[in-house]
């Protein structure tokens, strides 16, 4: 028998009917879901593990549940496979994305039992829309397999233009009394493929119509919006952040954890409230990070949590950031500079402030820093990459520093700040209580620490992405963001590289995993797929 349960780290690991049961909405979450369900386009930005996919799924399910009354049909489309698309076609992303959108729309229509009309030939790519797979489904697969044979052209004539797609949707909506199709794009952009970003935002802008609503979840750090898309005009940007200073913050994080962990850890959370509170602050509002930390010290004993904070937030949390430097060697100087900047410039000064705050009853602590808006572009790009991996969060622009100059405020992950303390669980709550958003360490337009970044050669978009992909596929599965429990099972089946896992078939999991039922085997396969695709996307 086996007493170990897996923690599910990603929304992709959850069954549809589990999602609403695990939803612990903050006021902001509810507001975001409301906006996602409305007609105006929303770009939802957040680092990995902050819950973007989860909120998209909640919006999708709630729209489904209210379809009879509101007649808004949600269609969830994930572009997480964009790293696999490598063809000679200069418009490859637009073609692939349109094919994918058509396929998902057709599937959603079938799910609702709507009969196909003449427009189904547009959405299927052929005059025989009932054949399976449809032409567009086959093309979608071809694009996603193209990394194996990147020189082979793909025939894209069957893919509709944006205008043809919009017309088809309009006809479908009119005929079936659908007021709008709400497209929910997940993993909408590949952070290291500016070309994909340009084509996505152009498509996002062009798709808008009275019958189509567009929403997208993206990571921080977009560099290319293309020529026609303007963020301030064409969408509402919502940053997915949980405000640590909100009185409900800890309660909210506790509820999220209690719904996911097993009874022993749940009891430990209730018993060791102050230790849990410190851990909840350390993760800076990132539920996935919280679940991972809890899986590492499920009994929440203070000495173990202290050790975890000091080891994870000093080195572990950097592993994803540093592995980016290995994968995208063109960005290495900036990625390395970013880590160096935080570790040698920002954290020591925040630590000084923390120590003063602990000594002085009136003292204020900080986990904020400010960078002048005229800082070099290379510095800003390095900070974008830090935001992508969740080490920092970009706050408000146009904040005034001490000399009335304007700049951007950033928040460093509170765990990194606390890890500089000898006894994090003892001082953590006091430091949070004394946090003041007005206290930030400042870096002017020409701070000496910028020099190495200023001199770094940046190859934004200049990477050989196919070569990057090939190297990633050869990496061991140990690098994937999965629990030890899941990795053990993958090794049991015999997978050793990311590439093997990408090509794997579900039946292998069901046949080869011992003492794991088909449902759970499928769940492991899904978790592995999501981790592989996430790994490949950055």
């Amino acid at each position: 028998m086996n007493a170990i349960e897996e923690i599910r780290l990603r929304t992709e690991d959850l069954k549809r009917d589990e999602i609403l049961g695990l939803f612990v909405p903050t006021f902001t979450d509810r507001e975001i879901v409301r906006l996602l369900k409305a007609a105006s386009p929303v770009i939802l930005e957040g680092s990995r593990g902050t819950g973007k996919s989860f909120l998209l799924r909640v919006a999708e399910i709630e729209l489904e549940n209210s379809f009879r009354e509101n007649r808004v049909m949600p269609v969830y489309v994930s572009f997480i496979r964009s790293s696999l698309v490598h063809t000679p076609d200069p418009q490859q992303f637009q073609h692939w994305m349109l094919a994918k959108i058509c396929n998902r729309v057709v599937r959603a229509l079938k799910g609702h039992g709507f009969t196909a009309g003449f427009e189904s030939t547009v959405l299927s790519g052929s005059t025989q829309p009932d054949q399976e797979p449809t032409v567009l489904e086959r093309l979608e697969s071809e694009f996603e397999d193209s990394y194996r044979n990147p020189d082979k052209p793909i025939q894209t004539e069957a893919i509709p233009t944006v205008e043809q797609f919009k017309d088809a949707v309009e006809d479908i909506c009119d005929r079936n009394d659908i007021s709008r199709i709400s497209l929910l794009f997940d993993e909408a952009i590949h952070i290291f493929r500016p070309e994909q970003q340009r084509q996505f935002f152009t498509l996002f802008r062009d798709l808008r119509s009275a019958y189509i609503g567009c929403n997208a979840a993206v990571y921080p750090g977009v560099t290319s919006y293309g020529d026609v898309f303007e963020l301030t005009h064409d969408a509402t940007l919502k940053r997915l952040e949980r405000d640590m200073l909100s009185p409900q913050y800890v309660e909210n994080m506790r509820d999220i954890a209690l719904r996911q962990v097993e009874s022993g850890t749940a009891a430990a959370i209730l018993r060791n409230d102050s230790t849990f509170t410190v851990l909840a602050y350390c993760v800076g509002g990132n539920p996935r990070l919280l679940l991972k930390n809890l899986s590492q010290c499920p009994e929440l004993r203070a000495p173990e949590v202290n050790e975890l904070i000091k080891s994870f937030y000093r080195s572990g949390i950097w592993s994803e950031h540093s592995s980016l430097a290995e994968t995208y060697s063109g960005h290495k100087p900036l990625i390395d500079w970013g880590r160096n900047f935080i570790e040698t410039q920002v954290l020591p000064r925040l630590e000084e402030r923390s120590l003063r705050a602990l000594k002085d009853p009136e003292g204020e602590s900080s986990c904020f820093f400010w960078v002048n808006r005229d800082a070099p572009e290379a510095v800003k790009h390095a900070l974008r990459l830090l935001a992508y991996t969740g080490i920092v969060q970009k706050g408000e622009d146009a904040i005034r520093g001490t000399r009335a100059e304007l700049g951007t405020r950033y928040t460093v992950n509170f765990g990194c700040v606390l890890a500089t303390q000898a006894n994090p669980t003892t001082v953590g709550v006091e430091l949070v209580r004394k946090l003041s958003i007005k206290r930030f360490v400042e870096f002017g337009a020409n701070h000496p620490s910028y020099e190495p970044a200023r001199n770094a050669t940046i190859h934004v978009g200049g990477e050989d992405m196919l070569q990057v992909l090939k190297e990633q596929l050869a990496r061991p599965i140990g690098e994937l963001d999965l629990t030890d429990w899941q990795k053990n099972h993958l090794q049991e089946i015999g997978f050793s590289t990311v590439g093997q896992l990408l090509k794997s078939d579900e039946s292998v999991f069901i046949e080869k995993l011992r003492y794991v039922g088909p449902k759970r085997a499928r769940r492991i396969k899904n978790a592995a797929d999501a981790a592989v695709l996430e790994y490949l996307s950055g």
Binding site: M1, N2, A3, I4, E5, D243, L245, P247, Q248, Y249, V250, E251, L258, R259, E262, S263, G264, A266, A267, L270, R271, N272, D273, S274, T275, T277, E299, R301, A302, E396, I399, R400, R409, V429, V432, R433, K434, L435, S436, I437, K438, R514, Y515, V516, G517, K519, R520
Partner: protein, 269 residues
Amino acid sequence: MDLKEHYDKISEAARAVRQDSLLDSAPLEAAHAAIGEIRLWQEILGARPEATIFDQIVSALELGLFALVSGLYRQAYGSLRLTVELTAGLCWFSTNRLDLAEWQSGERDLIWKEITNEDEGVLSPRFRKAFFPELNEERKYNGLNKKLYRELSEYVHGNARTWAGQDDIKYDEQLHRAWFDRLGTYMVVTTVLLSLRYLQEVDDTAVGKLAPYLHSRVGHVAPITKYLRERLPPAPAPASPAPASAQGGAATPETPATPAPTNSPQGPD
């Protein structure tokens, strides 16, 4: 088939497991101390009709322990599940005399979903408002109780993940320890549950007897410690050592929950 030989063989395997199981006696001693706590509640509530269920609870716990040290893990987990069910049932019947009589005469089932219902069950706001209005953490513990029951049920129903290994009789340290962890969780939930239902109804002597166990098990539940402080006179001398406790269930309790920060964020300069 030689039945005697067959059962001797099983018995011998169980005996070998027992030897390994008893090498570390601390968790077992803590489990027996936990049974002592349940007996104390029984002694205090003995006059109530539903208190007879304590005998069944203790019996399920003791047989569960025996199954555990004998390597009959599935049975041990099943027994613990019965314990969880009966304890919630006891509190449920305390307000449903007719249901109790029907259950005792075999005319009524104990329905888990009903007795742990979020609005009407034994750890619901309705119960709390009636018996311990200040103990406003009932929902958390109801969630914990249901989670525990669901996990234990996996062993009863033989869910796939509980079959990782030949189900033969041999010592399994992981399963052995995990059972005590779950017993610890059971004791925390049970202490909250029985406190919620009965603490304000029993006399001062009983509260005095229970107090050390309550501090040890649920010292982190602020409304209970506050209630004890108000109800009991200050201790005259340094406290004697805390009672033994089930492993995982009552590690040194921490200081009560620290309130969330109250300083609201300042706006930009």
